[in-house]
């Protein structure tokens, strides 16, 4: 199963500056492991040690937040788009 993964700006350093990459897997968990195999270090930026996404990062399959689906066990299908969306604070005051 091949899905598009949208990489947020703060993590693009780890993906050779690509904002969109392709990953293989049938669930979000597998997708994250596959991302790690392609881009070492990315998983620990997204997940806690127990594999759950960090609390300031949300993962969406298409438009839906996986927290309201089945979390990391949420299934993905060919052609889905996975978005990783961290909290960003900037309003560029300074």
């Amino acid at each position: 199963m091949s899905v598009k993964v949208r990489i947020p700006t703060p993590l693009m350093k780890l993906t050779d500056n690509q904002s969109e990459v392709t990953a293989e897997g049938a669930t979000i968990s597998e997708i994250l492991n596959n991302l790690e195999s392609q881009f070492a270090g990315i998983k620990e930026r997204i997940c806690e040690e127990n594999g759950a996404p960090r609390r300031f990062i949300n993962i969406y399959v298409n438009e839906e937040d996986i927290r309201f689906l089945e979390g990391e066990k949420t299934a993905v299908k060919e052609g889905d788009e996975v978005s990783i969306i961290p909290a960003i604070a900037g309003g560029s005051g300074r």
Partner: protein
């Protein structure tokens, strides 16, 4: 109902001729009270366009002074005002643009001590801050007072905007229960931002604010708009209320305002 002067009818004619605005809508705007937190990247274009639109009562909270490096994006200020308080600079620009607008300035850093006093009397809160500590403070105070929070944030070439209307939709903590620990998100200085991105997102916040004032259209409640400037792409993601939200959920655990240590990614 406001009796418009001839000058006001001319000034707002392009609004008044829109069926969705009309004289009634323009009067609502003139009577509206919006508090802008920050007169920086997002707050500058937001204050500028809210004033142009004739939103009659603007409060501006900022304790900083204008720096030369701000002017690449903070268009309400100008070169000759480097060193001036941002609030005073913004007030001057607005006075020159539209005398209908009453501007109240608050040269204060927003804290748990003053936020309730500053919020008093305002209907809408426009969050244009640059750090997580203030964003969580604004969110919690909005939930506690029932005020709508028009949220925007920017980083490099990417921006986010949404509307948090307490109990009608999710709040910031429904999305992100806690601020990230320092060190796990990039800091402001290493971030950088394409200046005009502040204009795009700040003005989206204005569009949403005006829609809320007018009661027109579908505001971005329960929806996160993401703008990717490099790809020229807008995406909308669905946001849901979290029943376990620590501030707006069924059994809230946060009942008092919290002053997190201010950081924009790395502790300073």
């Amino acid at each position: 109902m406001i009796d418009f002067t001839d000058e006001q009818i001319e000034r707002y004619s392009r609004h008044i001729m829109l069926p969705e605005v009309g004289g009634v809508g323009q009067a609502k705007m003139l009577e509206a009270k919006v508090l802008l937190i920050g007169a920086g990247g997002l707050g500058s274009p937001a204050a500028f366009y809210l004033a142009a639109a004739g939103v009659g009562n603007l409060g501006i909270v900022d304790f900083d002074v204008v720096d030369l490096s701000n002017l690449q994006r903070q268009i309400i200020h100008s070169t000759e005002r480097v060193g001036m308080l941002k609030t005073e600079s913004a007030k001057k620009t607005i006075a020159a643009l539209n005398p209908d607008v009453n501007v109240t300035v608050y040269n204060e850093r927003l804290t748990s001590e003053n936020i309730m006093r500053l919020f008093e009397g305002y209907d809408y809160i426009l969050d244009g801050t640059d750090n997580f500590a203030t964003r969580y403070l604004i969110n919690d105070a909005c939930v506690m007072t029932g005020k709508t929070n028009i949220h925007g944030s920017i980083f490099r070439f990417e921006g986010q905007a949404t509307v948090f209307k307490p109990h009608a939709g999710p709040c910031y903590r429904c999305l992100y229960p806690e601020p990230p620990p320092p060190g796990l998100v990039p800091n402001c200085q290493e971030g950088g931002v394409l200046g005009v991105l502040a204009g795009v997102i700040g003005n989206l916040q204005v569009v949403e604010t005006l829609k809320l004032i007018l009661g027109q259209g579908e505001p971005l409640i329960g929806s996160l708009l993401i703008y990717d400037a490099l790809r020229t792409e807008f995406r909308r993601l669905k946001l849901k209320r979290d029943v376990n939200c620590p501030v707006c959920g069924e059994n809230p655990t946060i009942k008092e305002l919290i002053d997190y240590e201010e950081f924009c990614g790395l502790s300073r």
